[in-house]
């Protein structure tokens, strides 16, 4: 593992709108405790040694970094489109590597078995070929031209549709999904998972959405996403080994696992190995 690479990324540590002055709390990042306090306008994150860490509020969350030369936080342009509904979905703790949480988010072949009746259903299990690339200019992984039969692609969906997907990995612990928006076919819904690496084998996932849906009640939108993520949680806690293997010797990836493999290759190339197993498992 390399902690060093990881220290220079930004991570979510709080839901910005739920910061209450006078009610600070403790959390952990990359194995170290942090104190989060202050308010939405002025959040404060303090390291164990008393050092005040850099802070920014983006995508509904408070972000911080512990490194001395942080890379800029990635941009999600849709976050500035004011006609979207922005839905932070809280924080869910998972006993798994932060990288496994991201990898699972990039996977479609599990939909019929884990998200039965919502994101997939038998016999529609076939995964058609799609494209995955590392975009060198942006240093991001992109998977495009993905299509999948979905019984209920979104809260706003009224019938099963052939959903189109694009995945983007702008940082090792973030995945962004651009997905067919049932009520507005010319636009994409944006669903992201921001992962706070608590330790190499423990993470907190902060799902966040930027949707076009002016029909569904807000609570329905939150619960739709929570239902899906919590279906994944029991899978994530039962994958072995706990860390994400960068050598696939013990696994058998096929074409439908291409995003997973390119993601791992990208991590390996960058040395972004916090939460990864770098020796042959």
């Amino acid at each position: 593992m390399s902690r060093e690479y990881a220290t220079n990324d930004w991570y979510p540590v709080a839901d910005a709108a739920r910061m209450i002055p006078g009610h600070g709390f403790t959390t952990r990042l990359l194995g170290e405790p942090l104190e989060v306090s202050g308010s939405f306008e002025n959040p404060v994150v303090t390291a164990r040694d008393g050092r005040m860490l850099p802070v920014q509020v983006r995508y509904g969350h408070v972000w911080t970094t512990t490194g001395s030369a942080p890379r800029p936080l990635f941009d999600i342009a849709e976050a500035d489109e004011t006609d979207r509904t922005f839905v932070p979905c809280g924080a869910v703790q998972v006993r798994c590597s932060p990288l496994r949480a991201v990898e699972n988010f990039l996977d479609i072949a599990h939909f019929p078995f884990v998200h039965t009746g919502i994101l997939g259903e038998e016999p529609h299990t076939q995964v058609a070929p799609y494209k995955v690339e590392i975009r060198e200019d942006a240093d991001e992984v992109w998977a495009t031209q993905i299509g999948f039969h979905q019984p209920q692609a979104a809260k706003s969906a009224t019938e099963a549709i052939e959903t189109r997907y694009e995945y983007r990995v702008p940082a090792p612990t973030t995945a962004v999904l651009y997905k067919t928006c049932p009520p507005k076919p010319e636009a994409w819904d944006v669903i992201a998972i921001f992962v706070q690496p608590v330790a190499e084998d423990m993470c907190i996932a902060w799902p966040w959405m930027a949707l076009y849906d002016d029909v569904s009640p807000y609570a329905d939108l939150v619960q739709f996403q929570q239902e899906i993520f919590l279906q994944d949680r029991s899978i994530l806690e039962n994958q072995k080994p706990t860390l994400l293997p960068l050598d696939p010797r013990m696994e058998i990836p096929t074409r439908c696992d291409l995003t997973s493999v390119v993601y791992r290759r990208w991590l390996k190339r960058k040395g972004a190995t916090y939460g990864a197993l770098t020796t042959a498992a």
Binding site: G90, T116, Y218, Q223
Partner: protein, 218 residues
Amino acid sequence: MTFTLYNYVLSGNCYKIRLMAALLGVEYETVAVDFYPGMEHRSPQMLSLNPAGTLPVLTAGDLVLTETQAMLTWMATSFDTSGTWFPAGDPALLGVVQQWLGFSGRLTQSAGLARLHSMLDWPVDGQAACAAAVKDLRILERHLTDRVLEGGLWIAGETPTIADVACFPYVALSPDAGLEHDAYPAIRNWLYAIRGLPGFVAMPGIHYRHEGTSGTNG
């Protein structure tokens, strides 16, 4: 529509009502309540409906129910034409059913809290909740083992009752808190039997059996 459920999708107690309705084949309406992160169950609107600030809440006309066990009793007596889910005519059996309905409330406070702590970092003593959950799992395993020795399977009598529905969710979800079922064979077989009941619905953390090719339970 027969009733309205104020619902939170990750709540084991709300799931009891969804499961019971599915098993009875009853249609109903839901109102999503943003329990987490929104804490909407403590909103003035929800508190005026249920001053205890808990979920679920069930309304049917002027009737407002806020205790899960009361809801299950009301549903079974209102919609179960077979009369088996709430065996009102058999005092001894009914006593056992009520006994385990009471126990299901303990499970909410033990395995339910342990799960909230592990999953959502709920501010409770996670270790104490886990220890209490182990104690409760052992109590249920003991009872279900006795039932197996008697040639039975369900918590009370020869058919499933609302006591099975009431105890099912937080036991089935205990692995969410790291409390696996490896050491509890009677519990495992009972959970599996409930997952095989006609009309069964899943929730996050509790999967369909997938044994038939139609995907869910077919």
